[in-house]
């Protein structure tokens, strides 16, 4: 967005108050647990959008489709022939000790061989304009509902901004999701499985159910009979479910296959899935491909499966698992960002520059002791975006979660969730860490 456009936009929306009032009215919230207590918070929205010019987006789009297609090919390979391991492209260690690898999914082929139907790919734009992939989320990426409803409301609060800018309409996400769900449907109704109201993303679960004409269900409403998944109705009847967009983690899905202590799963769901009677979105076992350690290998996967050069770059990453990388990490720990591969949501991210000398040494010892547990990345000096803070425009760090949907073809939603840090000194943008969000405008020219 040029300075002039930004000024026009800020004028048109007045201030963040109007749109935030509308978001409040429509219940745009997320849940958070603090000291063991559940609290619902409104998700702070900043009205100045991130703007991606058409040409720039076309490049991102190509790169994301390429990446997700390769990741889907990888998942099929890992749960079947494991050629990529046998050919020495990805070391065996990174597969079998990954928490996301599920032996129970060996040999299971989801309908149309699609494992990651909804992929949330996190990117950042560096100050030189180059986009870098920070993370792949192939299990239950959340966040699409926020820019979706924000766009609807911003168009009401600031119509002029849309008259003056050629913004691609992003409101087709629900339809895209519906088509994706239908492509995975094995015969029956569409359902979205939520752990319940006290889940951080409950707003999204219910909003997407409403807009895709799906039934929002919890586990106690579902049962499996003769390897078919059913919804138990209030009149004592049953309705077959053909596709389940689950918003609970793999290990809780089926207590007879995964964690026996899971109280939110559905016994025998995996049997119904293995029999091809229900589609599960995203497929169980995808965690092996979005493991922070596997991230390092994604460019290699693209070359291996697609025979193409990666269009989008990874952030420069080091695996202490490799001797050479370990040496680099030890020599440069103060300048790197270290991520615990088992953590998510902005947790387990440590900036070497922020550690005391003592803590740095302790951390060094931890990395040496458990090299597979960590990855190290160069700190990308990402582009700051303007946000309105108490009436003033200030600059803050922001990332972009792009949503890639894989159905009959792989498509990138022409929008995304731009998350920003409200803290001027922080790179962490996650909502659970106090971040806010913006709309993402893709321009049509």
């Amino acid at each position: 967005m040029t300075a002039l456009h930004q000024e026009q936009f800020t004028k048109a929306v007045g201030n963040a108050g109007e749109i935030n009032d509308l978001l409040r009215r429509y219940g745009v919230k997320f849940g958070i647990y603090k000291n063991g207590e559940f609290k619902e918070q409104f998700f702070p929205f900043d009205p100045i959008p991130r703007v991606i010019p058409s040409q720039n987006f076309a490049q991102i789009e190509k790169g994301l489709i390429q990446r997700v297609d390769a990741l889907n090919a990888f998942l099929y390979d890992i749960y079947h022939d494991k050629k990529i391991v046998r050919d020495g492209i990805v070391p065996e260690d990174f597969i079998y000790i990954s928490k996301g690898y599920l032996a129970q999914c060996e040999g299971v082929t989801p309908k149309n061989k699609i494992y990651s139907h909804i992929s949330g790919i996190d990117l950042v734009q560096a100050k030189d304009g180059e986009w870098y992939i920070l993370e792949d989320n192939l299990r239950i990426p959340s966040g699409a509902s926020y820019p979706l409803i924000a766009r609807e409301l911003t168009r009401i609060a600031a119509p002029q901004a849309f008259e003056e800018n050629a913004v691609v309409d992003n409101r087709g996400y629900a339809q895209l999701l519906k088509e994706t769900m239908e492509y995975a449907n094995c015969g029956g109704i569409r359902a979205i499985l939520t752990p319940g109201r006290f889940n951080a993303a409950y707003f999204e679960h219910s909003y997407l159910a409403e807009h895709t004409d799906s039934v929002l269900v919890q586990n106690d409403e579902l049962f499996v009979e003769d390897n078919i998944l059913y919804h138990r109705t209030y009149s004592g009847g049953k309705t077959r479910i053909g596709v389940l967009y689950r918003r609970i983690a793999d290990e809780y899905l089926d207590p007879l296959t995964f964690l026996p202590e899971s109280l939110i799963g559905i016994p025998n769901l995996m049997e119904a899935y293995r029999s091809g009677n229900v589609g599960i979105i995203n497929a169980p076992g995808n965690g092996v491909a979005d493991d922070k350690g596997i991230y390092y290998f994604v460019p290699k996967m693209i070359r291996y499966y697609l025979g193409e050069e990666p269009i989008l770059k990874n952030a420069p990453t080091y695996l202490p698992f490799y001797e050479e990388d370990m040496k680099y990490v030890m020599d440069n720990l103060e300048q790197l960002v270290i991520k615990d591969v088992a953590e998510a949501g902005g947790y387990g991210v440590v900036f070497g520059s922020e550690l005391s000398k003592e803590r740095l040494e302790e951390f060094r010892a931890e990395i040496i002791a458990q090299p597979r547990r960590f990855i190290a990345q160069e700190v990308i000096d990402f582009l700051d975006l303007p946000i309105i803070d108490n009436g003033d425009t200030v600059m803050r760090k922001a990332d972009l979660r792009a949503f890639v949907l894989s159905g009959e073809t792989t498509k990138v939603w022409a929008s995304g969730l731009t998350r920003f840090s409200r803290n001027p000194d922080s790179f962490v943008v996650n909502s659970s860490q106090g971040g806010g969000f913006k709309d993402t405008w893709v321009l049509s020219r």
Partner: protein, 233 residues
């Protein structure tokens, strides 16, 4: 969609009940507010309708508690919170737009607490509630879903009207409305009425004299109308 779970059917029923409880409580408090302009402790009859003791220092303390104290189970705020709790898990059935009116009601009630003219600042709530019911009609295509909410609404209204000793013609109209809703309920669902309590209601609410004499028994019959209707959601 066309598939409703037991949990959601209960939620729909209680959404109707609590929304109506909020609305009727608010209207009753509006009338009391007017009465209290001329009378100290002008709310004691109201408390008597619900078997509650007068533990309030004055009119203002009563009003504050019954309007805004969400820990008082007889307050408007409490009913609205419960309506919202049920509504929030029914978004895909009732629509985001319908739910937004409950959020607006919550915001309006919260703002009214600090108003210098409480009654005036509560007036928009009536509009908001009518808009909510308009949305329920407009956005819910499934008759079964809509009917469950309306059964909750009419059961609650009838219960409150009888407790507050509303005149017979008004109670009779609400009862006829409830009968119409009940006739739309499919068999083998928790909202299929029990015949015995319904017969008792028909008998008591058949004439004004019986209603005047036996309204307590009618309230009891109403509470036994559904086998699973008195679930605690």
């Amino acid at each position: 969609m066309g598939t409703i779970s037991l949990e959601h059917s209960n939620r729909l029923y209680w959404l109707g009940r609590y929304t109506e409880r909020f609305f009727t409580t608010l209207k009753a408090l509006g009338s009391l507010y007017d009465k209290m302009l001329d009378t100290q402790h002008g709310y004691t009859d109201y408390l008597g309708c619900f078997g509650l003791a007068d533990t309030y220092e004055d009119n203002a303390a009563f009003l504050r508690s019954f309007l805004f104290d969400d820990t008082n189970p007889n307050s408007a705020a409490y009913s609205l919170e419960r309506a919202y709790d049920n509504g929030i898990v029914l978004r895909e059935e009732i629509s985001t737009t319908s739910l937004s009116f409950l959020q607006m009601a919550k915001d309006t009630l919260e703002k009214a607490q600090n108003s210098t003219n409480i009654r005036l600042s509560l007036l928009p709530l009536e509009d908001i509630l009518y808009a909510f019911w308009g949305c329920i009609n407009e956005h819910i295509y499934d008759d079964e879903i809509r009917n469950i909410i309306y059964i909750g609404k009419t059961v609650e209204r009838l219960d409150l009207y009888m407790r507050m000793k509303y005149p017979y013609p008004i109670v009779e109209k609400e009862f006829i409305r409830l009968l119409k809703n009940l006739n739309r309920v499919p068999r083998s669902t928790p909202f299929r009425y029990q015949t015995k309590p319904l017969s008792e209601l028909v008998e008591i609410l058949g004439t004004e004299a019986d209603y005047d004499r036996e309204s307590k028994r009618a309230i009891s019959s109403l509470s036994r109308l559904f086998e699973a209707g008195e679930v605690s959601v």
